[in-house]
């Protein structure tokens, strides 16, 4: 099998899985449905591995031409290079684990086959997104994942209590993503107008050949691209959909809203790095937005009581962190964090899924506690995930975060300082979450307690695999200072797609400095861990009820009122406009205006009729007047116009 065919097989397998499950799934046993879907993704992963090992240079696979317009063509082309294969591995790898997990998690659900259909579709779209060789195919994937996300968030629309909320959350996610999509579209238009192609490679060539020609337009394009990225990757100002998106089943949150889809924005930015490099202003904007997002999200996460909401805000915060890296031009670093984040965030979500599963769909951490004994595997894996995200030394998150912090230190101590605050907050809310869930006493009542049980194998195996990955993920990109030979393997691997533009390399950093930064980070993580242990285990502090909160806690637990602000600023005015236009302009001006006109015309018939009085003398009178008028016309005209 040639590479082309392998690549196409890789992409189409999930689609085939989706098709089979979609059409026949209802009549097939659940086991077959689930394993078919999982196998499809897993085989894709294996193919991806094959391609990964055999990767030498950028390969472009031409499938067919979608349409040829006057000055541009739209092609369905796919591109195989280090970046795309890397993303493919993450997607299919994590994806197959989560498929596996879902087989257990969703086993009691009615829409079992539907769920797997959607999941497979999602994987397909995601593969389109990362494997497309041009922005057009990317956009297909981009929107495709949006649709799948919509379908999966609203998966439990039938739920008696939360059905409405679920579907509303789905809608919100889709619409917010659409705003970002519009940005992507504009970027595409501008590219079409200036480059007359959407192929990454060709645009890259043009831009690198004569960067000075494109500096102006690159700014505009990258701004639009970044707008798209904020939509998909939940950055300020378009981040509010992601926490709501946790309404979906937990595997969905893990796969889509933590590990893969939300990183599409990062992928897009990395993919377009040749443009971003020409637009320093955009990069600054990205930096600022990234910092703001990471801090705000971390702040909000501190007082959330829904286990998944905490993780969701944590995801937003981590994504912000990745954008900070992007804003500094550290593309591979961002991708490194994407990778490690995929491991531990998927792990955390799946862990929380396991907890929720065990708790019979209870998500409020105030009702949990002391689960460490009841669900040991979940407990251990969750702990690993927590440690990884909090930056416990030598776990995966530690390395990736550290790279970002190092870059931040390089660029400006202020940035570093702010990021440190965010990192601290991350540790705080994560340990709070961990201790409240797994330690202390069970707060959910006896009845619930009797139901609590460890999840089945299909759920724990992914947890264990991911835990291993979370622990050892850092190996992929060890800091060069410390591990000279093994260091920065991933960065080097990805170099071919980042065009070797002027990236800041942490190599330039003083070795001691680097180690000091690492130490600071470790110290923070450890001290927060200790503090949290004291607070939540020793003192048995519980999450407060709303009434007892002080001002900042209220702010945090109410998500800084951002939803309400958006509602007031954007949603209400548009809806008001809609009603007003419909009732005032449409109804009064256009509709009634016309009816007034017609009724005026009809009424005027009554006036004209009055002339016809019925009296003969009047008729004769008017005839005489007519003749007089005629002759007067003659007199006047012949006197004055001749």
């Amino acid at each position: 099998m040639g590479k082309d065919l392998l690549l196409l097989t890789l992409i189409s397998l999930p689609l085939i899985g989706a098709a089979i499950n979609g059409i026949l799934g209802k009549r097939m046993p659940k086991l077959i449905v689930g394993s078919l879907a999982t196998m499809m993704v897993f085989v894709s992963f294996l193919i991806g591995l094959t391609l990964f090992t055999g990767l030498d240079k950028t390969t472009i696979v031409h499938l067919f031409q979608v349409a040829k317009f006057e000055d541009f063509t739209l092609d369905a082309n796919f591109q195989l290079d280090s970046l795309s294969i890397w993303m493919t591995l993450i997607i299919t790898g994590i994806g197959s684990l989560i498929h596996l997990f879902s087989m257990g998690y969703m086993s009691h659900d009615e829409g079992y086959h539907k769920f797997f259909t959607y999941l497979n579709l999602f994987i397909f779209s995601m593969l389109l997104l990362v494997l497309g060789s041009n922005y057009f195919v990317l956009f297909f994937g981009w929107e495709g994942v949006g649709i799948c996300s919509y379908l999966l968030i609203g998966f439990h629309y039938n739920d008696a209590e939360k059905g409405l909320a679920n579907s509303l959350a789905a809608r919100k996610a889709f619409i917010m993503n659409r705003i970002g999509d519009a940005g992507l579209l504009f970027a595409l238009f501008m590219m079409l107008n200036h480059f007359h192609t959407l192929e990454f490679v060709e645009i890259g060539k043009m831009v690198t050949a004569s960067p000075e020609l494109y500096t102006g337009i690159a700014g505009a394009i990258t701004l639009c691209l970044f707008l798209a990225a904020t939509g998909k990757s939940a950055q300020i100002p378009l981040f509010t959909w992601l926490p709501d998106a946790m309404a979906g089943p937990t595997p969905v949150s893990a796969l889509i809203h933590a590990a893969t889809m939300v990183t599409a924005g990062i992928y897009l930015t990395v993919r377009s790095n040749f443009l971003f490099e020409l637009a320093p202003t955009t990069k600054d904007i990205i930096l600022v937005i990234g910092i703001a997002t990471t801090v705000v999200a971390a702040f909000i996460a501190m007082r959330q009581n829904d286990i998944k909401k905490v993780l969701a805000y944590s995801t937003v915060s981590q994504l912000g962190l990745m954008f900070v890296a992007l804003g500094m031009g550290a593309y591979t670093v961002a991708l490194f964090h994407v990778t490690t984040h995929a491991f531990f965030k998927a792990l955390l979500f799946l862990g929380s899924g396991s907890v929720i599963h065990a708790m019979s769909d209870e998500q409020d951490i105030r009702k949990m506690g002391g689960l460490s004994k009841l669900t040991p595997i979940t407990h251990i894996t969750f702990l690993i995930g927590t440690l990884a995200i909090a930056g416990f030394p030598f776990l995966s998150g530690f390395f990736s975060k550290d790279e970002i912090l190092a870059h931040a230190w390089m660029s400006s101590p202020i940035v570093y300082g702010i990021l440190m605050i965010a990192v601290t907050m991350t540790a705080i809310y994560m340990f709070r979450l961990y201790f409240l869930v797994f330690h202390g006493s069970f707060r959910g009542g006896e009845k619930l307690k009797s139901h609590v049980h460890e999840s089945g194998l299909s759920m724990t195996i992914p947890l264990m695999v991911l835990a291993v990955l979370s622990v050892f993920g850092g190996i992929l990109n060890l800091p060069g200072i410390v591990f000279h030979d093994a260091g920065h393997w991933m960065s080097h691997f990805l170099e071919s797609t980042t065009y070797g533009l002027n990236q800041i390399e942490p190599e330039h950093m003083d070795g001691n400095q680097s180690i000091i930064l690492m130490c600071i980070a470790s110290a923070v993580a450890l001290s927060v861990m200790t503090w949290a242990y004291i607070t939540y285990v020793k003192k048995q502090a519980v999450a407060k009820e709303d009434a007892d909160m002080n001002a900042w806690e209220k702010l945090s637990s109410n998500k800084l009122y951002i939803d309400e602000i958006y509602q007031t600023i954007f949603v209400q005015p548009i809806l008001w406009l809609s009603t007003t236009l419909a009732s005032q302009f449409e109804q009064r001006v256009l509709n009634n205006g016309i009816f007034r006109l017609t009724s005026a015309i009809e009424a005027s018939g009554n006036y004209t009729r009055k002339w016809q009085s019925g009296f003969l003398s009047s008729y004769l009178f008017w005839m005489v007047m007519g003749i007089i008028g005629f002759i007067s016309y003659y007199i006047i005209k012949s006197t004055f116009w001749n």
Binding site: S613, G614, F615, L616, F621
Partner: protein
């Protein structure tokens, strides 16, 4: 001979008389309510036309206009006949020959 052939007044006088008769007829048609009088006024108007035509006939020394007058008289007679029979019929229906009484059809 010249003197003998002078028919009296100039052309414009006859035109004046004719216009006057015509207008008087029109005023009659407009003012009077009695249908028979109305009919008579219309006859008056037709006679004004006759006078005018005869005048022109004399002026042009051409007999055709007099033939035309002849036809007008014919038509006037026919119209008078029809008019009077309509009048009788209308009178039978409404017991009146006041034209003001006929205004059921309006609007």
């Amino acid at each position: 001979m010249e003197q003998l052939n002078n028919i009296g007044a100039s052309l414009d006088f006859y035109i004046f008389v004719s216009i006057a008769l015509f207008s008087i007829g029109a005023i009659g048609v407009l003012t009077r309510k009695n249908m028979i009088v109305l009919l008579m006024c219309i006859e008056l108007m037709l006679n004004a036309v006759n006078l005018l035509l005869v005048t022109f006939s004399t002026f042009f020394g051409n007999g055709e206009a007099q033939i035309f007058v002849f036809f007008i008289i014919v038509v006037a007679a026919a119209e008078a006949t029809i008019g009077l029979s309509i009048l009788i019929m209308a009178y039978r229906n409404s017991k009146s020959i006041d034209i003001e009484m006929f205004h059921k059809l309006n609007g």
